[in-house]
Subunit: 188 residues, 2 copies
């Protein structure tokens, strides 16, 4: 089960029971229908989100075309880093691709939690390490891999994205056009 509690525990298994409970209490829950736009480009969105169910994408407009920056299925965190960590307006928009259930935590809540307990500060440091390593890997994939290899790696590492999410979003997420991805899939 993709519970928030499980997720947090796996990040920092040694965390104390009371710290964990305290953190869990501060999140809000919400559910949204397919296609709902959670955040628009340029809005403030100082939240960390945990997707408990569903699918979501973050995107923005580049010369009036939509570019998908990130795709996530249930069991993952997502956020606008600028919004959450820097309190700046989000470059990104966020919208759901399936009916979804989301937990959200405001940056002020997080900062307060971090100040309140050393163990909680550690939890969020560990979350950042995860986030950094994933992001690093994404840089590498763009830097060193061809379109074909990027697709193959996604297929290996996250096949359910390919089954559940429309091709056009996946192509954009991988940094190529829909036509190119279609050709790659069909062996050209």
């Amino acid at each position: 089960m993709h519970t928030l509690q499980n997720k947090l525990t796996s990040l920092y298994p040694e965390m104390s029971r009371p710290d964990l409970q305290l953190v869990l209490k501060k999140w809000d829950v919400a559910t949204y229908p397919r296609h709902h736009v959670l955040v628009r480009e340029g809005e403030y969105s100082p939240y960390l989100y945990y997707l408990a169910m569903g699918a979501v994408r973050t995107y923005y407009h580049k010369l009036d075309k939509e570019v998908t920056e990130w795709l996530a299925l249930e069991g993952t965190f997502f956020t606008s880093s600028l919004g959450f960590y820097r309190n700046l307006p989000s470059r990104l928009a966020i919208a759901f691709l399936e009916p979804s259930k989301v937990f959200l935590l405001h940056r002020d809540q997080m900062e307060a939690l971090c100040s309140h307990a050393h163990g909680i500060e550690r939890l969020f440091r560990k979350l950042l390490i995860e986030h950094l390593l994933v992001t690093q890997q994404r840089v590498d994939s763009f830097h060193f891999e061809t379109a074909q290899q990027r697709y193959e790696h996604l297929l290996e590492q996250n096949p359910s994205i390919i089954q559940r999410i429309p091709l056009s979003y996946i192509a954009s997420f991988l940094g190529m056009t829909q036509e190119t991805l279609s050709r790659i899939r069909n062996v050209r």
Copy 2:
């Protein structure tokens, strides 16, 4: 001046004096000549480095060609994230492009410091936020920008790299060939 103390202070200005002193004490210093290889691919390198003087690059081999993953001048941190944060062997090699002065902190030292004082854990959380935002920006540049735009942004944001570092490394860092970069510079 690119002192480590200034750098740490700017990350977390409210840090207590004793915490700061404690952190500073744990770093080692070393100087290296040009071309010195600090870490080879596949070696363990559980260190965070601060470059106080000089220039450095991280790179690895892709089909027997060297690809530059990162370039840094004095005043910046650098590391193998896998080595430092995960204690895994480094995918990357690290070598100096100029005679350099480096501060280094072992991951065990960092973890001990974090455990010792809440304020220090916060410092390293803030360091991670910086690192994440920079990395995020790099993803975006690969995802959304053409070779030309990537070069122009580097020119704006870090012109001294272009003056001090050989074209071939810069090209590779920007994800293009040396010939392409040469043509971009010379207006084609």
